[in-house]
Point group: C2
Chain length 200, copies 2
DNA sequence: AGCCGAGAATGACTACACTCAGAACTGAGG
DNA sequence: CCTCAGTTCTGAGTGTAGTCATTCTCGGCT
């Protein structure tokens, strides 16, 4: 195909550059002031693009947050995987993973909670959302891995339990009731729940 | 002015009447067209009150949905409690409760999902939200009750497991991914998860 | 009755996410 | 080089949740 043979025309480069400017602008503004205190207009201005252009790159403000944060979660997952490797018990292994995700999530409480809300209630067909779901899937695989290795749980059951661990994290980290809780408090609550669901 | 002896003056009666008109109007419109396709303006008009007045009775549109739906969930919980009483096993008992809640939630998918979103991410200090949380608390007590009775789980652990069951329901019923799933499909998925977390 | 303070009601107004009709740009073919 | 079809960009415009200064109403008090 003639189009495919020249993948890097000016057009393509321009699009890429814009996406990078948007990501940088949104990343900075969100981190600095929190999602709710930044308008899409300000992001567009900071990225030096028109209002409408922003929505060609992320269909909603929520998608924009996913775009910006996915990389952080992906990195947190890798750190968690490493930490889980040398955990003494199944619960500790799962919690090693959970701890990294939770810390990543709580860097800025509002952003973290909004990220989770978007994950559960947003539109999964949008690309950045799909990527976020893929990270969740990898997280669940990691949890399931720990369970089969350290607690001899059969694969099918491990997958189900990993799904439950996800649900626990989502609700615990997302709930407004816990918005004011410290990370250790959250982890303690999650640990209690995780410990209760693992087979003894 | 027939009534000085009544506990409430005209003012109080007026407020009550307005709340009832609002509830009726919102209830009907939400049921008919779904939360997202009804504007607060239309509700205000239907209730024959000013735009701003609506927000004296429910601080956000989400709160309004809670106001309207709480009674349904409360009733569903009672039905579930009754059904759980004569269930043969712990899993069946829990699922009897879950089934009623799920059916209530799915009467109108969007409204149900929005209700759950509001529960987790809304402002718990608002009165209708507080009532919704109370219903969840009662649901968890009911689940815990089933677990202690039918599976001899100690009270503390039963409470923790009930919390986990809540989380499973929230995510399963709320997730956009499951927006198109039928009730039996949802119940099957929840049952698998519930079965996996109960002690064997 | 008539007045007054507290609380309730109101709707014009604001802020902001998102849209869309047209302008501007790109690159392929002549 | 020029044209043109396709793509991308744009910002004025739109719809709607929620606010607030003002007006209205009630009921206690003299």
């Amino acid at each position: 195909m003639p189009v495919k043979s020249r993948p890097f025309g000016r057009r393509e480069r321009n699009k890429q550059a814009k996406l990078e400017r948007i990501t940088a602008a949104a990343s900075e503004l969100f981190a600095e002031r929190g999602v709710d205190d930044v308008t899409t207009q300000q992001i567009a201005d900071a990225a030096d693009i028109g209002t409408g252009t922003l929505f060609l790159y992320a269909k909603t403000k929520g998608e924009l947050l996913l775009l910006v944060q996915n990389a952080h979660y992906s990195a947190a997952l890798e750190r968690g995987r490493a930490a889980a490797a040398d955990a003494p018990t199944a619960v500790d292994g799962v919690m090693a993973l959970v701890e990294q995700i939770a810390e990543c999530n709580r860097v800025q409480v509002d952003n973290g909670r909004t990220y989770l809300r978007e994950m559960v209630f947003g539109d999964p067909s949008e690309p950045h959302h799909a990527e976020a779901l893929a990270i969740v899937a990898r997280t669940e695989e990691a949890v399931a891995g720990v369970l089969t290795r350290r607690a001899q749980v059969p694969a099918a059951e491990a997958a189900t339990l990993a799904q439950v661990v996800s649900a626990i994290m989502f609700v615990e980290l997302g709930a407004t009731l816990n918005a004011g809780s410290s990370i250790p408090e959250l982890l303690a609550s999650i640990r209690t729940q995780v410990a209760a669901i693992l087979p003894r």
